[in-house]
Symmetry: C2
Subunit: 425 residues, 2 copies
C-alpha cells in the first residue's frame, strides 16, 4: 500500500480498478448496516435490566417523605438532584431533574430565551433583529438544528485539539447579537476532544457584549470513558462563578447512555438565580416530570461510585467496537494518506476527516452499498461542511462483527471517493 | 335553618355569633387539610401498583418489532398510539404519544404557534401585534396561564349548562386576532359539565377569521366517570373533519388520573396534516419520549374495555368523596340560600358559586382555619373572578374523614363570609 499522492496516473487507474471491484463485491452482499447515530447496543441495554423492577411496591415509591407517584415537585426528586450534583460536582439546589431527554431541556432553554428571555435578557430574543449563536465545528447536528430552527444565525467556530478556538470565540462575543455557544466539553461530539483547563478558563471569563450570553454546556459524556479510568472534570458552574459570570452557563446531562436511551433521566444544572427564574417559566409548562423514573434511577444507580462501576461495564462493551473502527482505519487508510482521525478515550464517536471534497461522495457510496452513516456535512452549521471532509462514525450500535463489515465497506468507499477526486472523475 | 336573605338584623347577628364561635373552634383544631388540586388519593395510586413491574425483562421491552429501550420513534410506541386511539375514537395515525404531562404537550402546541406558527398560520404568533384566546369560565387556571404567559389577551366566554356560550364564541371568532379556545369538553374543570352535541357541532363548524384558529380540546376526563357507566363521547377530530375544519383541533388526554399522576403517558390527537407539521417541529426538540413507560401502559391497560374496568375501581374510591362534599353542601348550605353547585358524575371537581363578593373572603377564612383550597378567582382569566363568587373544590386527595372535616370548615367559612357581606361588615 502506497500513499495515493505518490501514485502515477496508471497506478491510480490500477488501484481504482481494484477498489471498484471491492465496492461491487460489497454491494452484492446486500448489507444493511447502521453507523449513523450514537445509539447504545443491545448488550448495553441488557446490562441495566434490574432498573425495570427496582421500584415494585407503593412503599418503594416514597422518597424524601414524598410519594413520587403523585403530582408535584417541579424540580424533581431531591435524591435525584443530589445524585446528579455528586456526578457533576455542583450543588443539589443547582440541579433541575426533568424528563427523559436532555435535548428537550436544551430546547426549552433556547425556546424560553426566544419567547420570554433569560434572566439577564433585555428583551425576549424573538424581539431582537438578529440573534447569532456560536457553533464549534465539527459539532453535534442536533444542537445546531435547535438554534437554526429559531431562525438564529449560526457562526462556525473552528475546533482545536483542546476545544473551541478561543481567539475566535473572544472576537465573536464582542458582537451583542451573539447570544451563546454550544459546547460538548468532555469527549466532544464527534471528535472526542476534552476541553483543556485553559479553554474552560477563557470560556468562563468571557466578557460578551450580550448581557444574556449563555454557554450551552452539554456534558453528555461526563462519565463515559471507555478506555481507562474516570477522568475528573471541573464543575463549570464553579468556574463561571469564580470568573464573575455565575449566570452565564446551563449545563446538561442525562442517563441516556448510562441506563436506557429511551427512558433515562435528564437534568440541567445552573446557578440558583437562573434556577429560580427558569422555574417560574417551567411551572407554567408542567406540574412535574416523571418522578417515578427519577427515583428508579436513584435506587438503581445509588451514587457516583456505583454509577462509575456500571460505566466500566459499558466500557467493556464499547472499547472493542472503537478499537475495531480505529484499528481498521490505521491499517487500511493510514498508509494511503487520504484521511485523518483520532483515537478517543470516551464518548460515542470517531471523527474521520476525508480528503477535502470527498465526504459526500464517500457516504453516497456507503449508502449504495447498504451502510448508513450520519450525513456528510451534519457536523457543521446548516449541514454544510465547507471542506466536504468531516464524517462522523458511530460505532456503538452494531455488534463487532457487523461493525467490521461496515468499516470494510467504509474504507473501500473513502478510497474510491479519493481516487475519483485524484483522477479528476 | 333559614335562608339568610330573610333574616332580620338581629337574627343575622345571632347567626354570626354562632358561626364565629364555630370558626374559632375549627381554628383551635390546628387542621392542615388540602382540597386545592385535583390530585388522586393514595388508594387510587395503590390500585395500579402492578404497572410498576409489568415490564421486567429485556424481552418484555420489545413491541411492534421495536426495542422500546433505545432511541427513536418520535410519535411513540405504535401500540400505545393505538390504545389511545381506541379510547378517544380516532385513528392511531392521529395520535402522538409523548411524555408524562398533557399540560406540557398543550404548552408545546401554543409555544410552537408562538415561535413558528401552526399549519395554517400566516406568520408565527410572536409576529402578530396582538393574539387573543377564548377562555370559557369558570375554567382551568393552568390553561389560562399558558396563554397568558405568552402575552396573549384572554377573553372570558361564559359557560352555560351545555358548554361555552356559543353565541359569544361565534361573535368573538370574527376577530382575526382570536386564535383559539380552551375546552375541557367532558366533565369540565371545575363545573363537571359535558358539552352538548349542539355545542360541539357549533364549535366544529366555526368559521373563524383567523385561518389558524385552534380548539385546544383537553379531554382530561374522557373516561373518568365516577357515578354510573362510561358515557360515550364523540370524536372531535371526526366532527371537525365532517364540518370542513379538519385541522382546527388538537385534542389532549393522559393517564395521569388512570395510572399514576406523576408517571403517566400523555398524548395529543390531531389531523394527519397537523401531525406531519408538528412532527417536523418536534423532531428538533426531542429524539423520542419515554417509550418504556408507554409500553408499560399498553401492557397494563391492555385495551379500552380493560381500562374502563380500572376506572370503575377509581370510581368506587371517588364517589364517596364527591358524595361527602355535595351531601354536606345540600345539608348545610342549601337551606341558607347563599350558594349554588351541581352534582357531577365524572371529573375531579365540584364548582361552588358563593354569594357574589364573598369567595375571596371565604377562602381567606378557610386558610386561617388550616384548609387550603384553590385560590379564589383561579377559575377565571388572570385569576380575577369579576363576581368574586366561584370556588373550585377538589375532593379527590383527602380520605373521606379528612374531607368531611375540611368541608365542615368550608361551610362555616362561606356562611361567615356571607353574613359579613349581608351585615355590611
Amino acid at each position: 500500500m502506497t500513499a495515493y499522492a505518490t501514485l502515477t496516473a496508471a497506478q491510480l487507474q490500477q488501484e481504482y480498478d481494484v477498489v471498484t471491484a471491492a465496492f461491487e463485491a460489497a454491494k452484492a452482499k446486500n448489507l444493511k448496516l447502521d453507523m449513523s447515530r450514537g445509539k447504545p447496543g443491545k448488550a448495553q441495554l441488557d446490562l441495566v435490566s434490574d432498573i425495570l423492577t427496582v421500584l415494585s411496591t407503593p412503599e418503594d415509591c416514597v422518597a424524601d417523605g414524598m410519594d413520587v407517584r403523585n403530582y408535584g415537585e417541579l424540580a424533581g426528586v431531591p435524591a435525584c438532584r443530589a445524585l446528579f450534583a455528586e456526578i457533576l460536582g455542583c450543588k443539589p439546589s443547582e440541579v433541575f431533574a426533568g424528563g427523559n431527554a436532555s435535548l428537550n431541556l436544551m430546547y426549552d432553554v433556547i425556546s424560553k430565551a426566544f419567547t420570554h428571555g433569560l434572566l439577564h435578557s433585555e428583551r425576549p430574543w424573538c424581539k431582537e433583529d438578529v440573534v447569532k449563536f456560536l457553533c464549534p465545528s465539527p459539532g453535534y447536528d442536533r444542537h445546531f438544528k435547535v438554534t437554526e430552527s429559531f431562525g438564529m444565525e449560526l457562526i462556525t467556530i473552528p475546533m482545536t485539539e483542546e476545544g473551541p478556538d478561543m481567539d475566535a470565540v473572544e472576537a465573536a462575543v464582542k458582537d451583542p447579537a451573539v447570544k451563546g455557544i454550544w459546547c460538548v466539553p468532555k469527549y466532544s461530539n464527534p471528535q472526542g476532544i476534552t476541553y483543556s483547563d485553559a479553554v474552560i478558563d477563557r470560556l468562563a471569563a468571557l466578557k460578551p457584549a450580550a448581557p444574556d450570553f449563555t454557554i450551552m454546556w452539554d456534558n453528555a459524556y461526563c462519565i463515559h470513558e471507555f478506555d481507562g479510568d474516570f477522568v475528573p472534570f471541573r464543575d463549570i458552574l464553579t468556574v463561571c462563578r469564580e470568573a464573575g459570570n455565575p449566570d452565564m452557563v446551563f449545563e446538561f446531562a442525562s442517563t441516556s447512555k448510562v441506563t436506557l436511551p429511551g427512558a433515562g433521566v435528564a437534568v440541567f444544572a445552573t446557578s440558583e438565580a437562573n434556577m429560580a427564574y427558569m422555574q417560574k417559566l417551567l411551572t407554567v409548562q408542567v406540574i412535574s416530570y416523571d418522578k417515578v423514573n427519577q427515583l428508579r434511577h436513584v435506587r438503581y444507580l445509588k451514587d457516583k461510585a456505583h454509577t462509575l462501576e456500571l460505566m466500566k461495564k459499558h466500557a467493556a462493551i464499547m472499547k472493542p467496537k472503537f478499537d475495531a473502527v480505529v484499528d481498521m482505519l490505521d491499517r487500511e487508510i493510514a498508509p494511503l494518506g487520504i484521511g485523518s482521525w483520532c483515537r478517543p478515550k470516551g464518548g460515542y464517536f470517531v471523527s474521520y476527516d476525508a480528503m477535502p471534497g470527498t465526504a459526500k461522495r464517500a457516504l453516497a457510496l456507503c449508502k449504495e452499498a447498504g451502510v448508513v452513516m450520519t450525513g456528510a456535512g451534519a457536523t457543521y452549521p446548516y449541514g454544510k461542511d465547507p471542506q466536504d471532509s468531516n464524517i462522523r462514525i458511530a460505532p456503538s450500535l452494531p455488534p463487532v462483527a457487523e461493525l467490521e463489515a461496515a468499516m470494510e465497506v467504509f474504507c473501500v468507499c473513502v478510497r474510491m471517493a479519493a481516487l475519483e477526486k485524484l483522477m479528476g472523475k
